[in-house]
């Protein structure tokens, strides 16, 4: 793609963007594509907010003394950073935006099964986000994103109820999205779109939806119980009357471990699409990659106790959860190996989305493998609640999911907006993100093994080297995120027209116009071939 400005024409075909105008046409839309855009805007706002908190965290940690803000403020920083990034950015990130946009198109449906519920889920999300924002404006929360009792239920004197209500509400938006996907994927597939032909992106979203539907209610009730305990000054987690704080952790992690797979499976779905498209080759071991998504979703519910190895949980339970944590790593390994094998004898291009896919494979592998350190009992005893854990989860969440989101955004941007972004800048910022990311989070592995505890506002001076590196990296990372923000805005107006299928990709979404018309397809598609059948019509492409 050349970045030379071709005279950007306007898009004439009727599409979901020019179907109607005015803010009402957006706020009352039931079109899954418009709702996806609404979500995209909202989570971007939340990401910037979470990112600002991250910046403040890193700024504070530049020096060991903790001299920028006081400790209460710092505690609120990382809490709000964690809550916003997890519940209001990463969990809805790919499912509610790319998933919302693409799942119906990829299976050849006109919309999701329940378009009004889809819109409702966005409003619920906004309501939840408002509560979170109110909690911030009123003075913040300082419990950590994990809301551990009895600190959250009895001791903290910040706006825990408000924040918990926000998360509780946002949970229902996540549930409704999942519900909609499950029904849509079961009932709305186009003729010929059998389960064995579903794009892996759709499989990944099906697995994600299962977790959303089965896990989220448990965290909802758990946080509701914490909220009630605060409101009435009595409840079931209070050790003073015989309650067990560890039970809270069980119930919290029953959701929140599977939730980390809500935060990675959609990304894995994106990577499957990217690797296949930019290798022009069917994904190696399609059925294994599909099945491994379901495997992760199910086994993911068996391992939550690995967050509790030092809490005084029974040793035997620790053994059980440790063993199963290794089992859940197997399906992830299958995916990594299959992506790599897909590239073998492919025709690989280095377009920006593929660069993000390379980044994902590398960083997710490191993040996942360090997850294995944590699942190893004796090592976790030493590194739990240190920066080692912080580094692990940023590798999988930022290095994994955020890169996948960025990759997917670049890949489907032409479909969503009908326009291309400037390739040169995109490649440059992908590189910046990769370098900045590693600089930020790799040193934290070392600091963590050295013993720097997490959630520390001031730390022992010997850790400073690593923190300085980390802060420097975060700056680079921040710049790496700002550039795409600018050029995406630019491309909305000035980007060259993309055409229906700029990547020559397979998949129903590429067969319709860019941007797609309101009901996605002019004529209802009928599917006659496998997913990723790049070689099926070889002769048509000439050669």
């Amino acid at each position: 793609m050349s970045t030379v400005l071709q005279d950007p024409q306007t898009i004439e075909t009727p599409n979901y963007l020019n179907a109607e105008y005015g803010w009402k046409s957006w706020l009352f839309t039931t079109d899954h594509k418009r709702i996806a855009v609404l979500y995209m805007i909202s989570i971007t706002v939340m990401f910037v907010l979470g990112g600002i908190f991250a910046g403040l965290i890193r700024l504070e940690l530049l020096t060991p003394q903790g001299d920028l803000v006081n400790s209460d403020t710092y505690n609120k920083f990382f809490t709000m950073h964690g809550i916003i990034m997890v519940f209001f950015f990463l969990i809805p990130s790919i499912p509610a935006t790319l998933g919302n946009f693409l799942v119906p198109m990829m299976i050849g449906a006109k919309d999701l099964a329940f378009p009004r519920i889809n819109l409702l889920s966005w409003y619920i999300y906004i309501a939840g986000a408002l509560f979170a924002l109110i909690a911030i404006v009123m003075g913040g929360v300082d419990t950590g994103w994990t809301f551990y009792t009895p600190f959250s239920s009895t001791f903290s004197n910040t706006f825990v109820i408000t924040a918990a209500v926000g998360v509780f509400i946002a949970g229902f938006s996540s549930i409704l999205t999942g519900l909609n996907f499950i029904v849509t994927i079961h009932k709305m597939r186009a003729p010929g779109m059998t389960w064995g032909r579903l794009p892996l992106f759709v499989w990944a979203h099906y697995a994600t939806s299962l977790i959303q539907v089965l896990g989220t209610p448990v965290v909802a009730i758990t946080l509701a119980l914490v909220g009630l305990e605060r409101a009435f000054h009595i409840g079931i987690f209070d050790p003073a009357i015989g309650g067990d704080p560890i039970l809270f952790q069980h119930m919290f992690w029953f959701y929140s471990h599977p939730a980390v797979y809500i935060m990675i499976l959609p990304g894995m779905g994106v990577i499957s699409e990217l690797v296949s498209c930019f290798s022009r080759k069917a994904v190696f071991g399609y059925s294994f990659v599909a099945a491994s998504s379901i495997g992760i979703a199910v086994i993911g519910f068996l391992v939550w106790g690995h967050h509790m190895f030092v809490t005084g949980m029974s040793m035997y339970a620790s053994l059980y959860f440790s063993l199963l944590s290794f089992l859940v790593a197997v399906p992830s390994a299958i995916k990594v190996f299959n992506w790599t094998a897909t590239m073998f004898r492919g025709s690989i291009s280095y377009d920006t989305p593929m660069l993000y896919a390379f980044g994902f494979i590398g960083l997710f592998t490191i993040g996942g493998l360090t997850g294995l350190f944590l699942a190893t009992l004796a090592v976790d005893v030493h590194v739990t609640d240190t920066y080692f854990v912080v580094a692990h989860f940023h590798y999988v969440m930022v290095g994994g999911m955020v890169l996948a989101y960025m990759g997917g955004l670049h890949f489907w941007w032409p479909k969503i907006t009908g326009r291309m972004y400037p390739e040169g800048w995109a490649k440059f910022s992908a590189l910046l993100v990769f370098v900045g990311f590693n600089l930020t989070f790799f040193p934290q592995f070392i600091a963590g093994y050295l013993g720097q505890p997490r959630r520390y506002h001031a730390y022992a001076p010997e850790f400073q080297v690593y923190n300085v590196l980390s802060t420097a990296g975060a700056t680079v990372l921040g710049v790496g995120y700002i550039i795409p923000f600018i050029y995406f805005m630019w491309s909305l107006k000035y980007g060259p027209l993309a055409g229906n299928n700029p990547w020559k990709a397979k998949g129903l979404e590429w067969q319709t116009t860019s941007p797609p018309p309101t009901y996605n397809f002019e004529t209802p598609p009928i599917v006659t071939e496998e997913a990723y059948a790049y070689a099926a019509h070889k002769e048509e492409h000439g050669g």
Partner: protein, 99 residues
Amino acid sequence: MHPVSSVRTYVLVWLTLTILTFVTYYVAQIELGEWNIVVALLIAFFKMMLVILIFMNVKAESPLTKLFVGAGFFWMVLLLGQVAIDYISRTWMPEGKMW
């Protein structure tokens, strides 16, 4: 769409449910030790199955619906069972070793 059950079936189920309610009520007054809870839960489970299969008509539903109903049970068991693993095995700590 699936056939509807007869009014008779519904009324019979209702009768069974009502009778079982009073059975639970009275069985609870008989000393059975640990078995009281077991009996109570078994009866409740049986009542639930009646409601699910006949009132909610799952009996005549597609395998897919049955699968989802089954999944509900399965995940409940995952939650309760694995939390129980911790609490049950806490007392397995070798006794005699003071801590």
